[in-house]
């Protein structure tokens, strides 16, 4: 099943600290930029929505053509955003929870500056493996 998906982690200060195209469809040149644009535009909506609920998973908050933006907000207001075309909400929720655990492990590193880019290749490998598993 081909699926397009773009995953971004945005820090509290609205700086993207991790990006990955995790879909299994063939990648087009302009698609990646369009995906990032849509995700950044959705940030405003997330900001308002985050204060209305104490849950972390915010489900689908925005649509663009047939692509849906789902967001997960952590306690430190780091946002995990996923642009996708699937309808598998439980899979997406589990994906977010697993990535959240990975993110906490990265954050616990005292030499990691919170809000800076995540450069660990191991983290990248694990996120892509999780994406293949859940999405």
């Amino acid at each position: 099943m081909t699926s397009t998906a773009c995953f971004i982690i945005v820090s509290r200060n609205d700086i993207p600290i991790y990006e990955a195209e995790v879909g299994s469809a063939a990648k087009r040149e302009d698609a990646a930029q369009l995906h990032q644009f849509v995700l950044h535009a959705a940030l405003d909506i997330v900001q308002d929505l985050a204060w209305t609920t104490s849950a972390m998973f915010l489900k689908a908050i925005d649509r663009f053509n047939d692509l849906v933006v789902s967001v997960y907000v952590t306690a430190g207001h780091t946002r995990f955003m996923l642009l996708h075309d699937s309808r598998n909400e439980d899979g997406i929720k589990s994906f977010f929870q697993e990535v959240h655990e990975l993110y906490i492990k990265i954050l616990l590193n005292p030499l990691y500056l919170p809000g800076s880019r995540i450069t660990s290749s191991h983290f990248d490998t694990k996120v892509r493996a999780l994406a293949r598993k859940y999405l």
Binding site: A50, A55, A75, G76, H77, H100, I104, K105, L108, P114
Partner: protein, 194 residues
């Protein structure tokens, strides 16, 4: 070989499970480390307020991580969106994990709407510290104030947090109060959320 054993060695820290962690850490080890931290910073600065700022920054880094870890571990992935919620989170959960007991009291300031105080008879970090007379109002609790600031700011409640000695009649040693003054936007948002 003796000792090779049941503990699985993980190649990368990302593979290790988060788990509950060790519940207790040796107080003397911590006191030793903390005293070294203070002494090292003393050599780097020229005056007391810079020293307090450095301790606060050290605490801020701890606070940021403690917030994420505790919300994930102890609160089942629920964020705090209200002022009283985050204050009671700091007062009970954070204090319990860091110092083994909940804070002595949480009070709302009478003079200003945006001030809150967490009081403690004696902070754990100060137990083995004595301040020389010529350092005046310096308080090693600036480290704890930094932790609280880290938690509040990362949760979206920016605040100025300071530690003070408050003399109490009838007691020889003064009580410690962590004073939290929230920023304008926090109060506005609280009013908006109702």
């Amino acid at each position: 070989m003796i000792g090779t054993g049941k503990i699985k060695q993980y190649a990368n820290v990302l593979d290790k499970p988060l788990g509950k962690g060790k519940q207790e850490v040796s107080l003397s080890a911590f006191a030793f480390l903390f005293s070294e931290l203070v002494q090292y910073n003393q050599t780097q600065v020229d005056n007391i307020s810079e020293l307090e700022t450095r301790l606060e920054d050290a605490g801020y880094a701890v606070g940021a991580r403690v917030l994420e870890l505790l919300c994930h571990r102890d609160k089942g992935n629920r964020r705090e969106t209200r002022l009283l919620g985050i204050l009671s989170f700091v007062h009970s959960t954070v204090w319990k994990v860091l110092f083994g007991k909940v804070a002595d009291s949480l009070e709302k300031g009478t003079e200003h709407e945006d001030e809150y105080m967490i009081s403690e008879k004696e902070l754990l970090v100060n137990r083995f510290i004595s301040i020389p007379k010529d350092m005046g109002t310096f308080h090693c609790g600036a480290f704890v104030a930094g932790i609280v600031k880290g938690v509040l700011e990362n949760a979206g409640f920016p605040a100025v947090v300071t530690a003070h000695f408050v003399p109490v009649e009838g007691q020889q040693r003064p009580r410690t109060t962590i004073l939290i003054k929230f920023a304008e936007e926090v109060l506005r948002r609280e009013a908006r959320l109702g």
